[in-house]
């Protein structure tokens, strides 16, 4: 599980973390991601970096589904503390080949207790 706790643009941690996730998925590891604290801002819709001169890497999250990274857990308490709701997040989806390629949501809002359980189930944890 990759635990994402950094906001997207101020530092490189989110971008370079995403690069690890995409490479890790190619190793056919069973990969999931958690978004906690300012990490939830990574999934905010409508990011447009043009006027900062920086590269906009937020579209890369849409590629996660194609790499079979389709369990993105977002902590409810972190969203609420920031005044955000699920509607503020990018609508990320994946296609389930076992269900006639039905398009399914990748984002799962979980509360703190559920996230705590999920963390405990993992073999390897990496924090970006």
């Amino acid at each position: 599980m990759y635990i994402n706790r950094h906001a997207p643009c101020g530092t490189v941690y989110a971008v370079e973390g995403l690069e690890v996730v995409l490479i890790g998925a190619a190793f056919e590891q069973d990969v999931c991601m958690a978004f906690v604290g300012d990490g939830v801002f990574q999934l905010k819709q409508d990011q447009d970096t043009a006027e900062t001169g920086m590269k906009n890497f937020s579209p890369a999250y849409r590629a996660l589904g194609d790499y079979e990274v389709n369990r993105l857990y977002v902590e409810r308490e972190s969203l609420e503390e920031r005044g955000l709701t699920e509607d503020d997040l990018m609508p990320l989806t994946w296609e389930d080949e076992d269900d006639d390629w039905a398009e399914k949501p990748s984002i799962h809002i979980v509360d703190r207790a559920q996230l705590s359980d999920l963390i405990e189930e993992q073999d390897i944890l990496l924090n970006f």
């Binding site: 643009c9 530092t11 900062t52 001169g53 920086m54």
Partner: protein, 130 residues
């Protein structure tokens, strides 16, 4: 108005270098003068010519070099911070017996006195960092 700018974080790692660049461009557009840009802490890493960023991304180091050449900017890398982090020009390479240097065009290595001077000589000193 005469500005000096201090940059304390390396390229890509932190937005500070981008913010400083955009501020300086805006200040120059508005007709202001940039007395000096001083790179301290990890900011010295803006001054290496050995970076190769992804092709679809901005090239931060080249962008500084080009801005310096267009507007005759004084880009100063702090020598003490540079020594800790491995940024060297030909003089420093010789002095510390290094087999090469990595300074980018338009940057020069000098002491902290250049920062103090910038603070005294400029109307405003802005700091971008972490």
């Amino acid at each position: 108005m005469k500005f000096s700018v201090m940059v304390n974080e390396g390229p890509y790692t932190h937005q500070a270098s981008d913010s400083a660049y955009q501020f300086i461009r805006a200040a120059l557009s508005a007709g202001h003068e940039i007395f000096r840009v001083f790179f301290y802490h990890d900011g010295v890493n803006n001054g290496t010519r050995l970076t190769t960023p992804p092709q679809d991304d901005r090239n931060i180091v080249n962008r500084w070099s080009e801005l310096a050449s267009e507007h005759d900017l004084d880009l100063v890398v702090c020598v003490a911070a540079a020594q800790r982090r491995g940024i060297v020009d030909p003089d420093e390479a010789k002095r510390n017996s290094k087999d090469g240097d990595n300074i980018a065009p338009g940057f020069r290595i000098s002491g902290l006195g250049q920062l103090i001077e910038a603070g005294i000589e400029s109307d405003r000193l802005l700091v971008f960092g972490d």
